[in-house]
């Protein structure tokens, strides 16, 4: 830090070199993991380890260059975290390709490239996040259309959440969550006073005026309704949580949370009672080992718990676990079980802490911003990541019923990777605004 004579000058550290170092460390971690898989499975480092590392490295450096050029004051952590999580995901998917049917790693690398490409586009083209506010309603409508589309496509594993076009398939629900966060942020930023303060009083509660509450409630109910029809419980839970969190942050009314939780409980009991699909999942959650005693063998949750337990404190090492026993969805919903088995409790907690770091940086950006829309959007996006990690990891760890969601960045799935890169891009963009020093007074 330098001090010039006379008035002390505020020197703003951009932290771009920190970001560069962290990005390179993240790439190196992934390359070492890739080599470890080869060593443990085949006894040699994979021949393409160099190319693989180069591909990831080039992508990461391009993203870093875009940040350096157009968002110099951005928070230095989100990008390296994205690279690390995406790299770890690629390594574990590559590892699972070796023992389960299918060859998903190359496709995942392509999707990652697309995701990073979109990250760069967002950082370069979106100069001010407040412009998103204008498209909030159109976005919400688009999101609803995206959500409805899978109804016209065949169900996959009991859920109608995929759109399949030839060899490509994607989950529109993933994109919808960003659009929904934008809509909530825009709507609540404008109407927060009305929601918090006006309306009729019923005893100690203040009911918000219908004309203010109705649009947001209708939109939200439409989303959740569609999702429930498609039996995409994970996303319904996520959208519900997002709505409650953002409503609370905007209005500071604890009553909303109470009402929200009550509605959620009613909905959960209703769905659990009506849908056999959900009912069996709740039973598996209450007694993961029950199917073994009943003579039906280990269900997927039991297999997942076996994998975690086998990993113990330190894990078996990448490639040395028995992930093939977990069955289908090992690369998507259950990828965390393989991480727990092969990297152990140590690796698993490290991974969860990386997510925690990303979430906390998002919240921090939200708090540091000045405009209510930006604040709510950053907090909403960070909450999406946090809630999604909780719903997925809680499901495979049998902490909550399994709902079937992808672990952000890590799980196999193109739409998921692309969406998460956009979320990180928005956080980087907004953190640049939040940390940019006010113009110096002459």
């Amino acid at each position: 830090m330098t001090r010039t004579a006379g008035r002390p000058r505020r020197t703003v550290r951009t932290r771009r070199n920190t970001e560069l170092a962290l990005v390179l460390a993240a790439v190196l971690t992934a390359v070492l993991g890739y080599a470890e898989v080869g060593l443990n499975v085949d006894g040699t480092v994979p021949a393409d380890a160099g190319e693989y590392g180069a591909a990831l490295g080039v992508l990461a450096l391009l993203a870093h260059a875009a940040v350096r050029w157009r968002a110099p004051y951005a928070d230095p952590l989100p990008l390296p975290i994205g690279v690390l999580l995406n790299g770890v995901g690629l390594v574990v998917i590559y590892r699972l390709d070796r023992s389960t049917p299918g060859n998903a790693a190359p496709a995942q690398l392509l999707w990652s490239a697309l995701g990073v490409g979109l990250f760069i586009l967002v950082v370069l083209l979106l100069r001010d996040h407040r412009r998103l506010q204008r498209y909030a309603y159109i976005g919400a409508l688009a999101a609803l259309v995206l959500l409805v589309l899978p109804i016209f496509f065949p169900p996959v594993y009991g859920s109608r959440i995929w759109i399949t076009l030839g060899p490509l398939s994607f989950q529109p629900g993933e994109f919808a969550k960003i659009l929904l966060a934008v809509f909530f942020a825009a709507y609540l930023a404008v109407h927060r006073d009305a929601l918090a303060l006006t309306g009729r009083r019923v005893r100690r509660f203040r009911l918000p005026p219908g004309r203010v509450l109705a649009p947001v409630l209708v939109i939200w109910a439409a989303f959740v309704g569609v999702l429930v029809l498609e039996t995409d419980l994970g996303t319904s839970l996520l959208f519900f949580g997002l709505f409650v969190v953002m409503l609370y942050v905007a209005t500071a009314r604890t009553g909303w949370i109470v009402i929200g939780l009550f509605l959620a409980a009613v909905a959960a009991v209703g769905v659990g009672w009506l849908s056999p699909h959900v009912h069996s999942r709740v039973e598996d959650w209450l007694d993961p080992l029950g199917s073994i005693a009943a003579g039906r063998g280990a269900n997927q949750i039991a297999q997942s718990l076996f994998a975690f337990a086998w990993g113990g404190e330190l894990g078996t090492g990448l490639g040395n676990g028995y992930s093939a026993l977990i069955g289908f969805a090992a690369k998507s919903d259950f990828i965390l079980a393989t991480i727990g088995e092969e990297l152990g409790l140590t690796g698993l907690i490290a991974l969860l802490l990386v997510y925690a770091l990303l979430v906390s940086r998002g919240f921090r950006t939200g708090i540091a911003l000045r405009d209510p829309f930006g604040r709510l959007l950053a907090i909403g996006l960070a909450a999406i990541v946090g809630l999604q990690v909780f719903v997925v990891a809680g499901g495979v760890l049998a902490l909550i019923p399994l709902t079937g969601m992808t672990l952000p960045f890590v799980a196999q799935g193109g739409s998921s990777v692309v969406t998460n890169w956009i979320i990180v891009a928005l956080l980087v963009r907004m953190s640049d605004t939040a940390r940019r020093p006010a113009p110096e007074e002459a």
């Binding site: 930023a189 927060r192 006073d193 918090a196 303060l197 969190v245 609370y248 942050v249 905007a250 209005t251 500071a252 009314r253 080992l289 073994i292 280990a298 039991a302 718990l305 076996f306 975690f308 337990a309 086998w310 990993g311 113990g312 404190e313 330190l314 090492g317 040395n320 028995y322 026993l325 727990g340 152990g344 409790l345 698993l348 907690i349 969860l352 802490l353 997510y355 925690a356 979430v359 906390s360 919240f363 921090r364 939200g366 708090i367 540091a368 000045r370 405009d371 209510p372 604040r375 907090i379 960070a382 909450a383 946090g386 809630l387 990690v389 909780f390 809680g394 760890l397 049998a398 902490l399």
Partner: protein
């Protein structure tokens, strides 16, 4: 309030929300804390699963990991003499290696089985960690190996079993249902452990349909071939238990001279009842028979009467010194608990003293009775394993002989040995005589089934020493024949020849 709208200018703080409510800085922080708490909850649950429930989950029957791991490399071997009686062959399936057994049925009671589908038992089970290579004692750098999860080649289990004695036992039992336990009295080393009908543990070592069929057939077999009768089954010991009673009578001073008349009346009416204790032979049917005569003729009335005179406490103590009432008798394979009731009236005690009522013994414990007498009254702990080695032959653990109990004084033991020699020389045990050897024994024939409808159990316990030696006899044996085609079922007729064959095999070394 002036600041109705959110604080466009202020960075945060309480009161920048709608009309004095907490602003986004405060609520956002709370929501962030909530999200982080969710992740903390995940960490707690992960720790619960991966640390505190790991053991239970790893051993769940539906979890294949332990089995896959166990058969991922060749298993160490179980050796009899210097030769392995087990092996491992590569398979093409999910499990890399499969257990094989050479002469499986002969050694099944020693080895137990190691099956990919049905788990491990007996030595294959108790020494599993060594055999499968996970025993930390195999590692040269235990801590590092544990961290790296490096597996060592499986170690070998060297048994104390004598090949010739084991083969003699199996041949002697033949097609009859029964068991043999032979012990080296001075050390407690188990020389033979045989159970018939037997089975081939190799027939279901894999996980194929054939293995499953073989297993199901064995499970359904009425002859219970997989039951280890030498260790895991108890039978009423009948008159062989009189050795224990005689030892207790001599040790307790109830009898001081084995040839002197006792004060046993005839008929001897069970105390508190009107039922006389009947003898199998009329030669016993006179009052005042000496202990020596009573043993040679196997008189129930005399030994029953002596047991009552010794008293419950001292009878129990003597029985327990030989291994009765011990539920943790590990060789390391655990033997079933042999029973001598500790609460009885005098009539029940009289019956128990001749091996009836609730008295029940494994062949192993009856072999310990013979061995204790042979070893000057000191009962050694029975051991099936001589040493554990790494795959390169270096020792991991050597078994030292250890004293189980001192049952009686050497003088008493000498007197009991004389009684047992008389049984073989001129009593019911003549079928066990061996030229050029001193043999002591005791026959037993125990009723079986409701109203004695089943075939009686034929027992024989004995020890033998070369005639010119005055050291501890090198072998003690217990034989039980539970079911035979023979018409005349007596211990002397059926069981003594088997014991004789086993003792001859050891003496011929």
């Amino acid at each position: 309030m002036a600041r109705g709208r959110s604080g466009d200018r202020s960075g945060g703080g309480r009161g920048d929300g709608p009309q004095g409510l907490p602003g986004i800085s405060v609520t956002g922080r709370r929501a962030g804390t909530f999200c982080l708490l969710l992740i903390v909850a995940l960490c707690v649950q992960a720790t619960r699963v991966q640390v505190f429930r790991a053991e239970e989950l790893n051993h769940n029957s539906a979890n294949q990991r332990l089995t896959v791991e166990r058969y991922s490399q060749p298993r160490g071997d179980i050796l009899v003499g210097a030769e392995p009686v087990t092996g491992s062959v590569p398979t093409g399936g999910r499990y890399d290696y499969k257990r094989t057994y050479t002469d499986g049925p002969t050694y099944a009671a020693v080895t137990g089985y190691s099956s990919q589908a049905y788990g491990n038992t007996q030595l294959e089970g108790t020494e599993d960690e060594l055999l499968s290579g996970t025993d930390t004692r195999l590692a040269s750098w235990a801590v590092w190996d544990a961290v790296a999860r490096r597996r060592n080649p499986g170690g070998d289990v060297h048994t104390t079993v004598d090949r010739a004695a084991q083969q003699a036992a199996m041949r002697g039992l033949g097609r009859q249902k029964g068991a043999v336990a032979a012990i080296e009295p001075a050390t407690g080393r188990i020389l033979a452990l045989a159970s018939t009908p037997s089975y081939d543990p190799g027939s279901f070592a894999g996980a194929s349909a054939d293995d499953r069929e073989a297993w199901n057939r064995l499970q359904a077999d009425a002859g219970q071939p997989m039951l280890n009768r030498a260790l895991r089954q108890t039978y009423p010991p009948g008159s062989t238990f009189k050795v224990v009673t005689a030892a207790a009578a001599l040790e307790g001073g109830v009898v001081t001279d084995v040839d002197a008349p006792t004060d046993t009346p005839f008929p001897y009416v069970l105390p508190g009842t009107t039922t006389p204790l009947v003898n199998d032979t009329r030669a016993c049917d006179e009052p005042g028979q000496s202990l020596a005569t009573a043993m040679v003729l196997s008189c129930n009335s005399v030994l029953g009467h002596l047991g009552v005179q010794v008293g419950l406490e001292r009878m129990t103590a003597m029985a327990e010194a030989f291994g009765f009432n011990d539920a943790g008798l590990d060789t390391p394979v655990r033997a079933a608990r042999s029973n001598f009731d500790t609460r009885m009236d005098e009539a029940q005690l009289a019956l128990s003293s001749i091996g009836q009522f609730d008295t029940a013994a494994t062949p192993l414990v009856m072999a310990m009775v013979a061995a204790g007498v042979a070893n000057d009254g000191t009962v050694m702990r029975p051991q099936l394993v001589e040493k554990l080695t790494r795959s390169d032959g270096t020792a991991v653990q050597l078994m030292e002989p250890s004293v189980y109990r001192r049952a009686m004084s050497p003088a008493t033991a000498g007197q009991v040995r004389r009684l047992m020699t008389d049984v073989v020389e001129k009593g019911t045990g003549r079928n066990a005589r061996i030229a050029g050897a001193v043999v002591g024994g005791k026959t037993g024939t125990a009723q079986n089934g409701p109203d004695n409808s089943g075939t009686p159990y034929a027992w024989f316990i004995s020890w033998a020493a070369p005639a010119d030696s005055d050291g501890v006899p090198p072998v003690a044996v217990a034989v039980v024949i539970a079911d035979s085609d023979a018409t005349d079922v007596t211990g002397g007729g059926l069981a003594a020849p088997v014991a004789r064959a086993v003792m001859q095999a050891v003496l011929a070394r």
